[in-house]
């Protein structure tokens, strides 16, 4: 497979300015992640110490195989919600290696509000379990939660994808034969009690771990019975009397030693067969991505330059290089795994849509997973294109994206707007994983456009009332709308709402995709089959 030849001028002023801009975006990301992960009020840290508990991040180190990667998901969930009071939505999720097994880890972060579940906490847990189901990954739950955040219970309890979904997903995983293990490190109260109870295996720490439907205060209020935590749901009671828990542990490290040995007994699944080759690093320095991404996302650049810095050996076999050129399609490998890439080099036209739909089917037939690199403002509009059937051709692309049986992965590199998001495997199209780069927004249309449309309505209404508006008055109406819109189309808003699986530093993308692609192959790939393509 031939190498891409880069035309990037790394000494140009544009490169330098872009690099400065994008590096600062990456730094801001890392700063935010650092804060979300580690910045906690002293009293919370002290409380954990007093309770003889390990800081949740340290628990991960005890659990994971040393020297192996951990792909954390949705680190910045809830970063723009609850006035920033629930960093990470009080949950840590990700994919890591335990006793040589690829597993999904879900940990309550007891250093945030005692690990209380906010609505976005529930969404994050459900998403982690969805990932486990889709990719058939075992799950290890580290349980230490105060329970549902009651002031917001209406947003987390009753609906289809609310808290009940956690337990439903657990049950489905078990039914699929995918093992789950809970390590009970703190209290599992009410619904939380079902996490260990629905796990195939569980370990409970003596003295700190407890499982009960109602804690001692609730029991007293309900029946007048006075009972201690240990009597009601402690390690000894559950491992010797009720059988709710399997393994008592003397302390947290002991619990993790037991957990690791249990994980070591899990049979490794046969992975879906793809043609793997020995990995090789990209021939071009991934750090140069910073100099490629434009400061203004509307500036056009060649997505092949990004591909050259993400794929093995920068080798890329381009499909239909001369047709439908606003969508670059081709074959490559990432960390040794084959991948079919679709990347936007402009808006989607009829030909590029047809090319994409065709390429997806080629990959599906060939059992090659798909990677969508989004940089899309939408499908082309106008009389000429409608006459040529742009909606019809777009529908073909969406039909192909939706129907493909091979795993899909999506990275929003430089913005994803309008129906382009559908054609490029947005969240609704169930890519196995979806990541966003720090400068990449997403919304139904561009911010300026949308602000104009929104403020126009208001201005027209006022004009009907006989008012004539000055420039300043128009700006006063338009600017807040624009600001609000910009905020809501930012990568950080998307990740706060868990529309993605996390914001990635562009240079981390190759590793993240390597881990995701490996995870995806744990599930068998269904035979290709599609709906009706409107021809």
């Amino acid at each position: 497979m031939s190498r891409l030849v880069s035309h990037l001028d790394t000494r140009s002023e544009t490169f330098r300015l872009n690099a400065t801009h994008n590096r600062s975006l990456a730094e801001e990301l890392h700063r935010m992640q650092q804060t979300a992960r580690h910045s906690r009020p002293q009293r919370d840290i002290e409380r954990l110490e007093r309770q003889n508990k390990t800081i949740p991040r340290e628990r991960l180190k005890l659990l994971l195989d040393p020297g192996t990667p951990f792909l954390e998901l949705s680190t910045l969930a809830a970063n723009m919600a609850y006035e920033g009071e629930a960093p990470g939505a009080s949950q840590i999720t990700g994919i890591g290696i335990v006793a040589g097994r690829e597993v999904v880890i879900h940990a309550d972060d007891a250093s945030v509000k005692g690990g209380a579940w906010y609505p976005l906490s529930v969404k994050k847990i459900v998403r982690a379990l969805d990932i486990a189901i889709e990719n058939r990954l075992p799950v290890i739950h580290l349980c230490d939660s105060a329970g549902g955040f009651l002031p917001l219970q209406s947003d987390l309890f009753a609906d289809r994808y609310y808290a009940g979904r956690i337990f439903r997903n657990q049950s489905i995983l078990s039914k699929m034969g995918v093992p789950q293990l809970s390590v009970v490190l703190g209290h599992c109260t009410a619904g939380g009690a079902y996490i260990p109870a629905l796990s195939d295996y569980n370990v409970i720490v003596r003295g700190t771990g407890a499982i009960f439907l109602g804690g001692p205060p609730l029991v007293k209020a309900a029946t007048g019975e006075i009972v201690t935590v240990e009597e009601l749901g402690g390690a000894d009671m559950h491992t010797t009397v009720s059988g709710t828990a399997d393994y008592p542990a003397a302390n947290e490290p002991h619990a993790f030693a037991i957990a690791r040995e249990i994980a070591g007994t899990w049979t490794r699944p046969e992975k879906a067969r793809v043609n793997l080759r020995d990995p090789e690093p990209p021939a071009y320095d991934p750090e140069e991505i910073y100099g490629i991404l434009p400061r203004d996302s509307r500036t056009v650049f060649d997505m092949r330059e990004l591909i050259a810095r993400m794929v093995d050996g920068s080798r890329f076999h381009e499909y239909q290089p001369s047709y439908g050129t606003t969508l670059v399609c081709g074959f490559a490998h990432i960390w040794g795994s084959p991948i079919g890439i679709l990347a936007n080099n402009g808006v989607l036209f009829n030909d590029s849509s047809l090319k994409g739909a065709h390429f997806i089917q080629l990959c599906d037939k060939n059992r090659t997973p798909l990677l969508f690199l989004q940089n899309i403002t939408g499908f082309m509009v106008g009389r000429e294109y409608e006459r040529r059937g742009i909606s019809k051709d777009g529908a073909k692309l969406i039909m192909a994206v939706s129907g493909a049986s091979v795993p899909k992965f999506t990275v929003n590199c430089n913005g994803a707007f309008g129906a382009g998001v559908y054609g490029m495997s947005g969240r609704a199209f169930d890519p196995r994983f979806l990541f966003t780069w720090p400068g990449a927004g997403t919304s139904v249309m561009g911010a300026e456009q949308a602000a104009n449309v929104l403020s126009e309505i208001k201005i027209r209404q006022l004009e009907r009332e006989g008012r004539t508006l000055t420039e300043e008055e128009i700006a006063a109406i338009r600017d807040p709308v624009l600001d609000d819109y910009k905020r809501q189309q930012s990568a950080y808003f998307a990740t706060s709402e868990i529309w993605d699986d996390g914001v990635l530093d562009p240079v981390d993308t190759r590793n993240a995709l390597g881990i995701c692609m490996s995870a995806a192959l744990n599930a068998p790939i269904d035979d290709p089959h599609y709906g009706v393509f409107r021809l």
Partner: protein, 490 residues
Amino acid sequence: MTSLFSAVLVANRGEIAARILRTVQAMGMRGLVVYHAVDRNTPAVRMADEAIEIDGPSPVAAYLDGAQIIAKARAAGAEAIHPGYGFLAENANFAQAVAHAGMTFVGPSPDAIDLMGDKVRARNFVAERGFPVAPSAIEDDEPATFVERARAVGAPLLIKPSAGGGGKGMRIVRDLSLLEEEIARGRSEGQRYFGDGRLYAERYVERPRHIEVQVLGDAHGNVVHLFERECSIQRRFQKVIEESPSPALSPKLRADICEAAAGIARAVGYTNAGTVEFIYGNGEFFFLEMNTRLQVEHPVTEEVTGRDLVADQLRVAAGQPLGFNQEDLTINGHAIELRLYAEDAARDFAPTTGPVIVFRPSPDARIDAGVVEGGEVTAAFDPMIAKVIVHGSDRADAIARADKALAETVLLGCRTNSGFLRRLLADEDFRHGEFHTGTIAEKADLLPEPELSPDLAKRVLAAASLSLRTTREAAEAIPAPHSLIGDWNN
């Protein structure tokens, strides 16, 4: 050389059995050995021309069963029995019984064994002939003059209850003006502890050193000494490092102490190899006791004198004359013996046991070993595994060679005192020859193994991790690409 005996049986085990067999076989005689089943896998059994199994209620009891050993030796056609050290070596009855059975006992006469075996008789015998013994006074002898006699012994003085033991009621008097007071207290304590206030006083030797002299006599009245050995490096009365010559002696003192030893041997009419032990301190030496056998530490004497003491023993036992005079003997260089014990210095020298999985003695030293690869160190016997013997041009050279020999000697499967020995060798006081029998007890900091340096710990862990199945499997279990991505997180 015509054989002295057609076959010699060694009534011993471990390193000394192998060491004796080596000379027996080198002299063209058949070497036989008795062994208990637990010793089946030891060097002596492997090298013997014939190894004869003995049994008993315990392994030690088997080696102490003189009647059984004599019967088996006769049946096997042995003409002589060498007892080694320990077990039956200083048992006059055994020596007698060997003779009665028509075989030669390789050692002194039963009378000499008897005399020197009784510590009180031996002391009196030596004192009566004018050799130095520690001055003492016994209250029993003449209670009225006890204080005066004690004062005549001179300071420092050790007073202990005649009925005593375990250090109770013992007092050291360094100022004779306090003597009466101390005796009064000693009496009262003796009365309180033992119901008996009588006392015993003897010269107290401060910081005593253990110096012993090798002697050799033949049946023709020739007695020589083979100079001294110093064995002051001891732990709990067990010698750890021995050397020859002693760094403590001036040529004059050496001549005095060696002549005294030879004189004592002559007075006894001693034949064969023996050792006269002295306590030395403050320029004075006193007779302690005589060991009527080959000593564990005899190799240092062999190294500096160039003689094979076992060969000399066998020749003398066969009735041959020594064949050399005192003037023929000189000290050549310096020799050190280190006793490699299966023990944990850090845990109060508790014996350790285990399989001898690898045993590769240093090629640059004489190593008299009692174990072989594939054997086992058990709790049945003394925990000495081997003796590492080096010979250097001078003491510093010998110390350097000793350290190198220890470092090169590989023994895996059982903890040893090798590290402790090396720390002793490196000790400044040891290097300067300044030590006494209490030195190890004073140097508690030498006992524990020092913490491994971070670099060494890392290498040890690497070696272990790479050779253990579990750790390698854990590494192999990590899937690609994770193993290639390594320690990374987003």
